[in-house]
């Protein structure tokens, strides 16, 4: 049952790539929400 690559310090390329994409998507989403508020809220 124990996963051979399951050490707490292990890092994977998928994780790092996904992390960078997550940050980009969040920045875009938050910027879009901020623009919506700044443009249309009185």
């Amino acid at each position: 049952m124990t996963d051979p690559d399951a050490t707490p310090g292990s890092s994977g390329s998928t994780f790092k790539t996904t992390l960078i994409r997550v940050i980009i998507v969040q920045v875009i989403a938050l910027a879009a929400l901020a623009l919506l508020q700044l443009r249309y809220t009185l």
Partner: protein, 565 residues
């Protein structure tokens, strides 16, 4: 509803059951049934985690909230990406690598059996009740909208879910989640497109009208502990809430324990972080657009058809007069909304037109308030009808086919959440209690049989709670509030587990102290938003745990470890 819409719903339900049975192969071992033999690709786990969180409330309640209250609710999720990153580098490698079946099993390895049993018991208590509440919300709405008895709408959701969960285990649930997630997104996108196409004003004007009422305010930077949705409660309280939910709740942990590697488990969590804020933003904006749509198309005075019929039957004349008032005021508001849209950005004219529109909108809200009060007096139930806005819109405004797609989407959202709860309730009750305390020498076949019985038990239990909860509207709120008493405290125990100084006495008594402090805050200062309860609980457990310390991983767990390996 048109027969084509019903056909779509029936095809979806049949597909879910057949798919579950097909996926039931390879589930004749415990590892296969509970963890899909750790074979699931990261994107399947990721979509499954996302689908699990998208309950039917997200499909019908959240856009309703967008229509009535705007998009500020999105702030609740501001802490989610951060929580996912923290979990990815801390708890996930520990849990995935430890070879456990449940999150609570890990606590026995690290602390002792009493901490494991207490946390597992708290999980069963809160999740057992909340799965009923999750089922009740769409059950009540579908029952009212289609005029069918609540028992039938609950059965429509509950029976197929119990079947495919029982037969196929985590593997069937996770793969069904993938398809359900696609269905949910397609249904939401279809509504957004229809709204934009049918809207009589341009998207820019639509947003200007919505913005003038404050519905596009996504950020509130005030630091007010009594305000539920602010930037700070979202970033700080939301991070702790998400850490608790994704890091310690078996319904989520079980998903990434089934991933094929630590990297896959962490990536699957990040996948939730990817889309949560954009998706919730989209769902809320759909609601906001429905609000704008109803500026130009007459909306029902009461969205809940059951309440509407009850009021018309008992106080018909009074309600009729209110409806006439509503129709006249609606006309004035529609003219004001068109004038505001036509004025565009044109300085003083635009400001005056918008002011007129806001005054008419306020008049409409007064009339709606009177109707809701009347419904409350007649039915004796809380008459907030936010959850009925979207279903009524879908049934009356969407073209044939899309309505069926949306109803199937609501069922998919409900089923994916309920299936996750059922598998986690089953896993916890069988492994953390039955195998731990009653019979620890059974073979896989025995535990699988017990698990299937447990799934049916929890499924029927959930259906009963759903039917009962529906008659006691406030019960759902009580269940949610009750859950927030110990969510943060359980997170505190897991955080303590990762600290070398954390010991078994500190964990157990810290957990009790954490729940006590949160309960004191909840009752002593009820205005403090529940999001802060998670922070208070986790911090209390850490302080008490580190002060008390006491003992390290107990002996006598070799058998547990050997069994897991």
């Amino acid at each position: 509803m048109h027969w084509i819409n019903w056909l779509i719903v029936v095809v979806y339900l049949a597909y879910v059951i057949i798919h579950g049975i097909r996926k039931s192969k390879d589930t004749d071992t415990m590892a296969g049934y509970f963890l899909a033999s750790k074979s699931l690709p990261w994107w399947v786990v990721g979509l499954s985690v996302m689908a699990t969180q998208l309950s039917a409330v997200t499909m019908i309640g959240t856009p309703g909230q967008g229509a009535t209250d705007g998009i500020r609710f999105v702030q609740l999720y501001f802490g989610l990406p951060l929580a996912m990153v923290i979990l990815g580098v801390t708890l996930v490698p520990f849990l995935h690598g430890s070879g456990v079946y449940t999150a609570y099993e890990y606590l026995e390895r690290r602390f002792d059996a009493r901490t494991r049993s207490l946390t597992a018991f708290l999980f069963l208590l809160s999740r057992g009740m909340s799965v009923g509440a999750i089922m009740a919300a769409p059950g009540v709405v579908l029952s009212a909208i289609f005029g069918i008895p609540l028992v039938w709408s609950v059965a429509l959701i509950g029976v197929p879910t119990i079947l495919y969960t029982m037969v196929g285990g985590v593997q069937a649930v996770a793969w069904a989640d993938v398809k359900q997630m696609v269905l949910i997104v397609v249904a939401l996108a279809a509504i957004a497109v229809v709204l934009l196409v049918q809207m009589p004003v341009s998207p820019d004007d639509a947003f200007r009208i919505a913005g003038s009422t404050g519905r596009l305010k996504a950020f509130d930077f005030s630091f007010d502990l009594t305000e539920t949705y602010t930037f700070w409660s979202g970033v700080i309280g939301g991070t702790f809430l998400m850490l608790s939910y994704f890091g310690t709740d078996q319904s989520q942990v079980q998903r990434y324990l089934a991933a094929e590697s630590v990297d896959a488990a962490r990536s699957s969590l990040l996948m939730s972080a990817y889309w949560k804020i954009p998706l919730q933003g989209l769902v809320l904006i759909v609601g906001v657009l429905v609000f704008v749509y109803y500026q130009f198309t007459p909306a029902p005075l009461l969205f809940n058809p059951t309440h509407e019929s009850a009021v018309m039957a008992e106080r018909g004349a009074e309600y009729g007069a209110l409806q006439r008032d509503y129709a006249a005021t609606f006309s004035l508001r529609e003219d004001a909304a068109r004038a505001a849209a036509d004025a565009g950005d044109n300085g003083g004219d635009a400001a005056a037109a918008m002011e007129e529109f806001l005054a008419r909108e306020a008049d409409i809200q007064v009339i709606r308030g009177q109707a809701l009060t009347m419904a409350e007096e007649v039915t004796g139930e809380a008459s907030r009808d936010t959850n009925y806005i979207i279903p009524r819109f879908v049934l009356s405004e969407l073209p044939i086919g899309l309505t069926g797609l949306f109803i199937a989407g609501v069922l998919a959202a409900a089923m994916s959440s309920i299936a996750a709860e059922l598998t986690s309730l089953t896993t916890t009750s069988v492994l953390d209690f039955y195998r731990r305390w009653v019979k620890d020498d059974g073979d896989d076949e025995h535990y699988l049989k017990t698990s299937k019985i447990a799934t049916v038990f929890w499924g029927i239990f959930a259906c009963f709670v759903a039917i009962y909860a529906a008659t006691l509207g406030s019960l759902i709120e009580v269940v949610n509030r009750f859950g927030s008493f110990f969510y943060g405290s359980i997170l505190g125990v897991f955080l303590l587990a990762m600290m070398p100084r954390g010991g078994s006495n500190g964990a157990f008594f810290g957990l009790i102290a954490g729940m006590g402090v949160v309960a004191s805050v909840a009752f002593g200062a009820p205005d403090v938003s529940f999001l802060w309860h998670n922070v208070i609980g986790a911090v209390t457990v850490l302080i008490v745990g580190l002060v008390l310390g006491g003992g390290s991983a107990p002996d006598g767990l070799q058998s547990e470890q050997a069994r897991a390996e």
